[in-house]
């Protein structure tokens, strides 16, 4: 009897646990689909036809804005992704009625639109009308970064994001501002303490985790799902841009503290050098952007940005970094065409490439090419007279946008690690005597170029 009991108990237990496990799995799957929405709702969307709530909310919202003459454009990445697939067709028949609701009916929590700040007058009437139409709205304001760099100016806070909620759908309106450097900027979405954290599921927003920088988009008026909306003319390039849009503000407060400790050099020479460095950087950026080569501020120029939000007046050159995979043979002729003759070329594409161009009076443009390894990134240096090679190691980094001397440029997002790798923990202290072969914190000897290669890897003009 004992044996039987044991077996029975075991079998029963197994059975219940099986049932229970099945139940759990079901529940878990349900929970997952609810959390991510995507897979589940897509299925529902195609099965049960369409979710017209979203479409109606979007239509109402567009009506609201057009009645106040506020131009917005669609930047919702999910819809733009769909639109991009059919872009030819949409372009060719801008007015055609659509047979089915393809874009605005997939049930989502949000639809995202963009608004250019200068295109509207902060009209309070908009919100009053919105309320009358049944929208609930939330405004996220914050400091104006365009005044942040200024000594002790306190302007009004500016609106960065709006959220309009109606029924189960919400419109996320991202406000874009023009910045010096001819680009658009949107702010991060940060909730203040008293704000309603449950107003919408903020984590699902596509914009606002970080501030972002974008080119001014060309817009196209299209009719999709019988709604007339403006979209970026080239949705795929917009989406591409969006994936690398993270923007870093310069650390103005720290820069001010730095200048308190080490007053800025206001001599005529410093002013002149800064002016030249700025115009050289503008020229370099123009040239490289035209070639489509991605570059970032490196070495002293990056330190200047990070530490003092300006060109270091005693640095005497402008330093840029480029990943070797982005190297193009046209770089040298393009700079020459722009009036910057090649001064020297060290290394080769396979190893330690470094280019130096001669700018106006003695101001030099150094371009270092960076080689990616599994756990680090490095660039090389070469001493002309001895053929010695050097290697500068950096931890891995990604690129962010920033604004520097009225220019939108890349810097390593992990700037502190980058600067610390290069200049050591004492990077905050200005150093006037600098030897590129021994001063950098991350320099390593890397052997000597074989003599027979010298003609190729050490070219001085």
């Amino acid at each position: 009897m004992q044996k039987i009991n044991r077996n029975v108990v075991l079998a029963l237990l197994s059975l219940t646990s099986l049932v229970f496990l099945l139940f759990q799995l079901c529940y878990y799957k349900f929970y997952l689909s609810q959390k991510n929405g995507a897979a589940f709702s897509k299925a529902r969307g195609s099965q049960s036809g369409q979710d017209s709530t979203r479409w109606h909310v979007v239509r109402k919202f567009l009506g609201l804005l057009s009645s106040h003459n506020i131009p917005v454009y669609l930047i919702d990445p999910l819809i733009l992704g769909l639109v991009d697939k059919d872009i030819e067709q949409i372009r060719s028949s801008p007015d055609g009625p659509s047979p089915e609701c393809k874009y605005f009916c997939a049930p989502r929590d949000f639809t995202t639109f963009a608004l250019l700040d200068k295109m509207w007058k902060h009209d309070v009437g908009l919100f009053r009308t919105a309320e009358k139409m049944g929208f609930q709205w939330l405004k996220i304001i914050n400091k104006d970064p365009r005044l942040d760099g200024m000594d002790d100016l306190s302007g009004m806070e500016i609106p960065l994001h709006y959220i309009f909620k109606l029924a189960s759908h919400a419109i996320h309106l991202v406000v874009f501002y023009e910045r010096s450097g001819n680009f658009l900027w949107h702010g991060p979405l940060r909730l203040k303490q008293h704000m309603d954290r449950k107003f919408v599921p903020f984590r699902k927003l596509h914009f606002g985790r970080y501030p972002g920088a974008y080119e001014k988009p060309e817009l196209l008026l299209v009719s999709i799902d019988d709604l007339k909306v403006q979209i970026p003319k080239n949705p795929s390039s917009f989406l591409e841009e969006m994936s690398h849009s993270r923007f870093l503000e310069c650390r103005y407060r720290e820069a001010r503290a730095f200048f308190q400790l080490y007053p800025d050099d206001a001599s005529l020479d410093a002013v002149e050098f800064r002016k030249k460095a700025k115009s050289l950087l503008h020229l370099a950026a123009l040239t490289l952007n035209n070639l489509g080569v991605k570059f970032w501020l490196s070495s002293g120029t990056c330190l200047g940005w990070y530490r003092q939000c300006n060109v270091i007046p005693h640095s005497k050159d402008v330093d840029l970094g480029i990943f070797i995979r982005d190297y193009k043979a046209d770089i040298i002729p393009a700079f020459q065409k722009a009036g910057l003759p090649l001064k020297h070329k060290f290394g080769k594409v396979e190893d330690s490439l470094e280019l130096s161009f001669q700018g106006e009076d003695d101001v030099k443009l150094d371009i270092f090419f960076f080689y990616e390894e599994d756990d680090h990134i490095w660039n090389g240096g070469t001493q002309a007279k001895s053929g010695k090679k050097f290697k500068y190691l950096f931890p891995k980094f990604t690129l962010c946008w920033t604004e520097f001397v009225e220019l939108k440029v890349h810097v390593p997002c992990e700037t502190l690690q980058y600067v610390e790798a290069n200049y050591g923990p004492e990077w905050k202290v200005p150093v006037k005597t600098w030897d590129w072969k021994s001063s950098p914190f991350n320099v390593q000897d890397n052997g000597v170029w074989p003599i027979d290669e010298w003609d190729n890897v050490i070219q001085i003009y």
């Binding site: 044996k3 039987i4 044991r6 077996n7 075991l10 079998a11 237990l13 197994s14 646990s17 099986l18 229970f20 496990l21 759990q24 799995l25 529940y27 878990y28 929970y31 959390k35 200068k118 007058k121 309070v124 009437g125 914050n142 104006d144 365009r146 005044l147 760099g149 200024m150 000594d151 002790d152 100016l153 306190s154 302007g155 009004m156 023009e178 910045r179 010096s180 450097g181 001819n182 979405l189 940060r190 909730l191 203040k192 303490q193 008293h194 954290r197 449950k198 599921p201 903020f202 984590r203 606002g208 985790r209 206001a266 005529l268 002013v271 800064r274 002016k275 009225e406």
Partner: protein
């Protein structure tokens, strides 16, 4: 399970159920049986693990949901809401007012709202206006009624204060010497018993409601001419009314909401807060056709002169072609009232922590304002720079719209200014006429972004240099021989009397009689002739047509210029080298135009109007136009007056700048 032992095979029994049969069958296949058992155990284990994972996962998700965006979306700064002061439900205010020779103070509910014990300052009658519902200070003024005309200003001010407000008066030092009958009557009408008999060096305090009850009055008579009355301290209570009673019942619109906010905070702006017929705060002037300055940002540089700012913004917003969205008011300091004025008009304002002192402070404020303007409007190629003590002509933007392309295209230009230093009532005539001048007048001007960003900003005087920004801008190192375009009749009017370098006398002498254009839509004449080379041709044409005046007469006399209209006359003065302005300064003095330094010249030539005739003055031989002088004419030389007088004039030059 250790005790588990394979049971001996048992023969099937009939009565046994199918289950047992199955069981025994299984038992017969030991391997299978074992497998089943381990399987079941494994199954149990897996269930437990999945369960635990699920519980953890759900809990984490729930936690995140709750925190929503703890890491990513929370404001970094802990924005702890400052607890608002508990609403004061008290209906009674304790007011203390003190009056004495060297000190006055006013305390409301224990809070000092006025305290002045500075020496040689703050003489006269101090007036404080309180809101009758909240007890907040709405205005604070001091009228030096020891000096002439200040009592008139006080009457004006008191008349502007709305009925029902609480007024507090106290005298410091002396307040009766120029307190005329009218003013005394006004004080009497407010309920003061003593005011009509206030006399030399009396001390006096008074608290009352405008058009209502008196809360208290104290007075101490001066016993003798050489001594002051004893200090007086008045302690009294004021009963507050309800907020509804203290406000006007304007229709509920966006504009009136702004107006209500403003009017409940400050006093002394007259009809803008009138309950019955408030003056508009939105002006909607006619738009300009083909407005080329619609997108040009306008920076209004302001300090703590809110009444000036109010007047200035009114005229600015009434000018045709104005674009309020492009206007930013930069306030030097954290003053509330100027910001209230800015908000009243729905404009944007920026406050600036003062850096340095005196002129350098103004100069740093200018720099910050200009930099901020170009940051806020990165697309702008120009910025219009205005000050808070200017009236703006109705055709200000039309004037700029017609001329701004010159600044864009002609590198020899430094600025366009709305102000003609020599454009007085008797020396300016033609609203459509423009000049090129080597001086930078300021007072309403347009700055090119490239000039600012590339040249001025990097070497702007640092805070420790006590320089005037405009003097600095006029220095040859900055100006580099470039010129400004100005109109004959100014498009701005400088009304400020109180200022860093300004006083009533100075204003009367140099600014009051300045001509100011009031004609809308003036079509400027021959704008293209203002380009560098065209202007020379134009000047030569003018000189060619000009009649030479009789150089034997006294140029200061009216009869020097014939009684004609619309003619062009020329006179020649002695000017040995480029910087020799001896005769010009004397001539300017007797013509009652700007003589404190040299303004309005172009290559040794001045252009103005006398008796409605165009009047040219050429400095010989320094001016390149000297060749136009007939050989028979001897240039006029005017002796500077005795040395001492000259010495007095020099410091005044510095004082004349930038107010």
């Amino acid at each position: 399970m250790e005790e588990w032992k394979p049971s001996p095979p048992v023969k099937p029994h009939k009565k046994r159920s199918w289950y047992l049969a199955w069981k025994y069958k299984l038992m017969n296949q030991r391997a299978l049986r074992k497998l089943c058992q381990t399987g079941a155990v494994l199954f149990l284990l897996v269930t437990v693990i999945v369960n635990i994972k699920l519980i953890l996962d759900t809990r984490r998700a729930a936690y995140e949901e709750e925190e929503e965006s703890a890491q990513d979306y929370d404001d970094e700064m802990l924005n702890v809401e400052v607890p608002r002061h508990p609403v004061n439900n008290k209906k009674v205010l304790d007011v203390e007012v003190y009056s004495s020779r060297s000190k006055v103070y006013v305390a409301v509910d224990g809070t000092t709202v006025l305290e002045d014990e500075a020496r040689e300052q703050g003489r006269g009658i101090h007036v404080i206006v309180l809101n009758q519902a909240t007890g907040h200070v709405m205005a604070k003024r001091v009228f030096d009624t020891y000096s002439p005309h200040e009592d008139e200003a006080m009457v004006l001010f008191l008349n502007m204060v709305a009925r029902g407000r609480i007024l507090i008066f106290t005298i410091k030092d002396e307040g009766s010497f120029h307190l005329k009958e009218t003013a005394k009557n006004v004080l009497k009408s407010l309920g003061s018993q003593v005011a009509p008999f206030l006399s030399w060096r009396d001390m006096w305090t008074f608290v009352g409601k405008k058009g209502g009850e008196v809360y208290g009055e104290k007075h101490a008579k001066s016993p003798a001419l050489s001594t002051w009355g004893d200090p007086v301290l008045l302690k009294t209570e004021v009963h507050l009314t309800s907020v509804e009673d203290a406000e006007c019942h304007w229709p509920d619109t966006e504009l009136n909401r702004r107006r209500r906010r403003f009017c409940s905070k400050v006093e002394g702006y007259g009809s803008v807060c009138s309950c019955k017929d408030p003056t508009p705060i939105e002006f909607n002037p006619d738009p300009l056709k083909d407005n080329r300055v619609f997108d040009v940002p306008v920076a209004v540089i302001a300090g703590n002169r809110p009444n000036y700012l109010y007047r200035m913004l009114r005229s600015l917003l009434s000018a045709q072609g104005v674009n309020p969205q492009m206007i930013t008011v930069f306030i030097d300091g954290y003053y509330e009232e100027p910001m209230d004025v800015v908000e009243l008009f729905g404009l944007s304002g920026i406050q600036h922590t003062p850096i340095s002192i005196k002129n350098a402070r103004v100069s740093q404020h200018y720099k910050a304002s200009l930099t901020a303007t170009f940051n806020l409007f990165p697309d702008a190629k120009f910025a219009v720079v205005l000050e808070e003590d200017l009236d703006i002509s109705v055709d200000f933007f039309s004037f700029l719209s017609q001329s701004i392309h010159l600044l864009e295209e002609d590198d020899s230009l430094y600025c366009i200014s709305a102000w003609n230093d020599q454009g007085y009532e008797h020396t300016a005539e033609d609203p459509s006429l423009l000049y090129r001048v080597e001086t930078m007048p300021g007072l309403g001007w347009v700055l090119r972004k490239s000039l600012y960003k590339d040249e001025l900003e990097p070497k702007w005087p640092t805070p420790e240099k006590l320089w005037d920004w405009d003097m600095w801008m006029r220095m040859p190192e900055q100006r580099k021989g470039r010129e400004c375009i100005i109109p004959d009749i100014s498009r701005s009017y400088h009304f400020g009397i109180v200022g860093l370098n300004m006083n009533g006398y100075f204003h009367e002498a140099y600014f009051k009689k300045h001509k100011f254009n009031t004609v809308p839509n003036v079509q400027l004449k021959n704008v293209e002739s203002l380009r560098k080379d065209n202007y020379e041709t134009e000047i030569h044409r003018l000189l060619g047509e000009a009649e030479v005046l009789d150089h034997s007469k006294n140029p200061c006399e009216d009869s020097f210029v014939p009684d004609t209209e619309g003619r062009v006359y020329v006179m020649f003065i002695r000017m040995e080298q480029e910087a020799d302005f001896t005769t010009w300064t004397q001539l300017a003095k007797c013509l009652h135009i700007w003589d404190l330094d040299v303004r309005g010249n172009h290559k040794g030539l001045w252009r103005l109007f006398r008796k409605k005739n165009h009047f040219l003055v050429v400095g010989v031989p320094a001016s390149p136009y000297s060749s136009k002088k007939p050989s028979s004419v001897t240039p006029i030389y005017m002796e500077p007056p005795a040395k001492e007088e000259g010495a007095v004039a020099v410091p005044a030059v510095a004082a004349a700048e930038q107010t």
